[in-house]
């Protein structure tokens, strides 16, 4: 499509945004569902989700560990060590889970989607699809968009769970807190719809944005090895910025 436009002047980023938006509209306007499309979405969930699982689990565990360590230390000064599970669960569900998982997702899955589509462009695979009367939007773009939408919330859930496991590991096994009061405090202070549901809503939004940007930068990459390398970098930068800005906007609306 449009790879050869000069990036000059102040309007260049705006035009880029406009093209990315039109691209998204086109992708959704040609949405078609069938058994083969669903199987392809599931395949992409594998590539985007399952392959990010290791990094998500490891990072989740350590985030839970360090978060508990820090809050435990602070809260014991005020004699409120009981509240550690509240702080852990609230900060995870509302902010850290969706944001950190989205950033990790951009680094692991987003870059590989961008590189894959960029290479397809460079090696004429997208042209070949077009010439076979197979719509690359439907065949390549849509499954990856929808897979991101599904995979990131799933990863956020697993991230949150492992982070809580990390928190329990620190608080209960290392510091000797009472596991029952740990759960009870968490339960009584976390609200299902507002805290947990709000966080899940965020992660759906982040998954959508991360997949969109990854697919777009791959699609619009210059068909050379330098172009693909640049596009993967752009994916990480743009996703990080977009996720954090969006996080602020969503949080402001939800509170």
């Amino acid at each position: 499509m449009s790879n050869a436009t000069s990036h000059t002047g102040m309007t260049a980023p705006l035009r880029e945004l406009g093209r990315a938006g039109l691209f998204l509209l086109t992708a959704f306007s040609r949405m078609r569902f069938g058994p083969r499309q669903l199987a392809e979405i599931l395949r992409q969930v594998y590539f985007a989700g399952v392959r990010s699982l290791v990094i998500i689990v490891i990072c989740g565990f350590f985030v839970g560990l360090v978060l508990t360590l820090q809050t435990y230390d602070t809260l014991t000064r005020f004699g409120a060590a009981d509240a550690v599970s509240t702080v852990l669960a609230l900060s995870l569900f509302r902010e850290l889970g969706p944001v950190l998982a989205a950033l990790l997702f951009a680094g692991r899955a987003g870059t590989s989607i961008t590189a894959e589509i960029g290479l397809m462009r460079a090696t004429e695979q997208l042209d070949a699809l077009d010439l076979m009367a197979i719509d690359p939007m439907e065949r390549i773009v849509q499954p990856r968009l929808l897979a991101g939408l599904i995979a990131l919330p799933a990863l956020v859930l697993i991230f949150n769970l492992t982070a809580i496991v990390g928190g329990i590991f620190f608080a209960v096994f290392l510091m000797g807190s009472d596991p029952i009061s740990f759960w009870a405090n968490m339960q009584s202070s976390v609200e299902l719809m507002r805290d947990f549901g709000g966080g899940m809503f965020k992660s759906v939004c982040f998954g959508f944005v991360a997949a969109w940007l990854a697919v777009w930068f791959g699609w619009s990459a210059r068909p050379t090895s330098e172009g693909v390398a640049l596009a993967t970098t752009q994916t990480v930068i743009a996703t990080a910025i977009a996720v954090l800005v969006l996080d602020f906007i969503l949080s402001a609306f939800m509170l």
């Binding site: 399952v50 859930l157 697993i158 202070s189 609200e191 299902l192 947990f196």
Partner: protein, 156 residues
Amino acid sequence: MKSSHQIELTAGIFLLLAIAALVFLALHATDRGVVSGESYEVTARFSNVGGLTPRATVSMGGVAIGMVEAIELDPETFEARVTMRISRAYDNLPDDTSASILTSGILGDQYVGLEPGGSPEVLQDGDRILITSSAMVLEQLISRYMFNSEDGQGEE
């Protein structure tokens, strides 16, 4: 390269795992709110609600039976009107039940504690609890202790 069957299977397991995490976290890490099913509303007036907030617990005998729906100031009497939503499971509370604003622990959250009376009549949806006792405000307690003043019995 994995075969497409293995890929689909792994993706399926992954999604199942995520759903399990969802169910587990939703059930065990969050407060679904006491009032998830059918419920009814009662109101009560307090001269001072202290730090009571919407969604605070309403409990009787230490058991959570509902939550605070809204807190408004009555523009005529200048009293705080607290609307509480109570689970239908407890629809047989006597109509002379009393309500007080209490604190869990020294620094804990404030909640509404109900104390049953002895009336045969039961509270209906929209009824008002007449006997209330306001929140203890720390400054008032201290000043009462220090000046040993006789005004303010706590009950209005």
